[in-house]
Structures are given as C-alpha cells and as structure tokens.
Amino acid sequence: MSDLTGIMAVTMIIWIGLFAYVYRLDRKVSRLED
C-alpha cells in the first residue's frame, strides 16, 4: 500500500505546485489590470 501512498503524494505535490503557479499568475495579472 505504500506504493499507492507514494503515488498519491506525488499527485498532491503536482496539484499544490500547479495551484501555486496559477495563483501567482492570477495575482500578477490582477496587479497589471489595476
């Protein structure tokens, strides 16, 4: 089962990274708009 938790951890990390990236992009764009 640790294999599964490993893959889940990787997926989580990918999601967190993606979210952080888009969030930062969104903030930057918001600043440019104002």
């Binding site: 599964l4 889940m8 888009v22 969104d26």
Partner: protein, 223 residues
C-alpha cells in the same frame, strides 16, 4: 482579487485535495482492473471530458467572433483551444499510463488513443494557423473558421470513428467504458473530480483571457 474569487479558488484547492485523497485512499481497488489502474480513471475521464468542453467553447467563441467581431471572443477562442490542447495531452498521458498497466503497452492505437491523437493534431494545426497570420483581424477570422471546422470532426471522433475503427482493428483491446461498471462510490469521486477539473479550467480560462486583454491593450497603446 476579490473576496468571492479568492474564496472560490481556495475552495477549489481543498476540493481537489479531497478528491485526490478519495481517489487513492477512500476508494477500494476495483475489480476487472489490473492493479490499482482503476484510480487513473478519476483523472483520465475528467481531463478528456474537459478537453472536449474546451474545444466546444472555442467553437462557440469563434462563432461569436464571426458574428460580433469583438476581440474578446477571439481571445476566448484561442485560450480555450489552448486549454483543450493541454487537457487533451493530459488525457493522452493518463490514458497511456492506464494502457501500460492494463495491457503492458503505453500505446496500442486503440480507438480512443487514435481519436485523441487526431484531436491533438487538429488543434495543434489551429495554432500553426494562428502563428502564420500577422494581421490580428485576419488571424482572428481565419482561426475562428478553422475552430468551427475542427469541432465538426469532434462528434465523429468521439462516436463514429471508434466503431468503424473496431472493424478495422478487431484485435485491439480496449476497456469497457468505465462509467458503466461503476458503483456509487466510484461515481461520486468521478463526478467530484469532473467538477474540480471543470472549475480549474474556468479559472485558467479567466486568467488566460485576462492576459490576452492586457496584451491587446498594450498593443493598442503602442499604436
């Protein structure tokens, strides 16, 4: 960034965290699937679905552009096509991983893999067209026309080509549509994942079109 938007984004974050956890921990292994490959379905099906949705939005935005000639529709068409392409790539990759676990090969040109590859080529060509036209209005018009033509093939690729393809390659293995054999727990997670991916793409679409608007505004200011 306003309050509601902020709340929604954090809600999306938590939502997807729960979905990922549920897909791996809460759901038991499914029968008929080798190993834990059934879990990939929770990510594979939504990406394929959202890709199709994105291409539809691109087609509609293209139609709106041809009707109203407002640049915002062109931005929407291009951003949506790009999102569709991105999601289609994800769908291809997750599908290939699934194929590897189930049948030992990443790629065996089964009807679904073939259809998604053709879709990738069609929308990659959309961007080839866009990069070949310098004048913004002409670029918008021509790519709008192509986006509509492209979407005409989508129903064929989704429904008709797989059936015909089967006659051509009766030996190709393909999984029975996972939606059919899912119990309620699987269905809940699948739908939740679908909602999450859709929410994500709405957000990406909004960010993408805002970027295009800024670019466009900058260009106008230079002139």
């Amino acid at each position: 960034m306003n309050r509601v938007g902020l709340a929604l984004k954090w809600f999306l974050f938590v939502w997807m965290v729960v979905v990922i956890w549920a897909a791996f921990m809460w759901i038991p292994s499914a029968e008929g699937f080798k190993g834990e490959s059934s879990r990939i379905v929770f990510f594979h099906v939504p990406t394929a679905w959202v890709a199709t949705l994105a291409f539809l939005v691109s087609c509609i935005a293209s139609g709106m552009y041809l009707w109203r000639r407002e640049p915002k529709y062109d931005f929407g068409a291009a951003v949506s096509a790009g999102l569709g392409l991105l999601y289609a790539v994800l769908a291809t990759v997750t599908g290939a991983i699934f194929a590897k676990i189930m049948w030992g090969a990443y790629w065996n040109w089964d009807p679904r893999q073939t259809s998604i590859t053709i879709l990738l080529l069609i929308y990659a060509a959309y961007f080839a067209l866009r990069s070949a036209v310098a004048d913004p209005e002409k670029r918008a018009t021509l790519s709008a026309v192509y986006s509509i033509l492209a979407f005409v093939t989508v129903p064929f690729l989704m429904f008709i080509v797989p059936r015909i393809y089967f006659s051509l390659h009766p030996d190709v293995m393909t999984n029975a549509d996972p939606d059919n054999s899912l119990d309620s727990a699987h269905l809940i997670v699948l739908l939740a994942s679908l909602a999450g991916f859709t929410g994500l793409s709405v957000w990406l679409y909004s960010v993408g079109t805002r970027i295009e608007k800024i670019r466009h505004r900058r260009r106008q200011e230079v002139l």
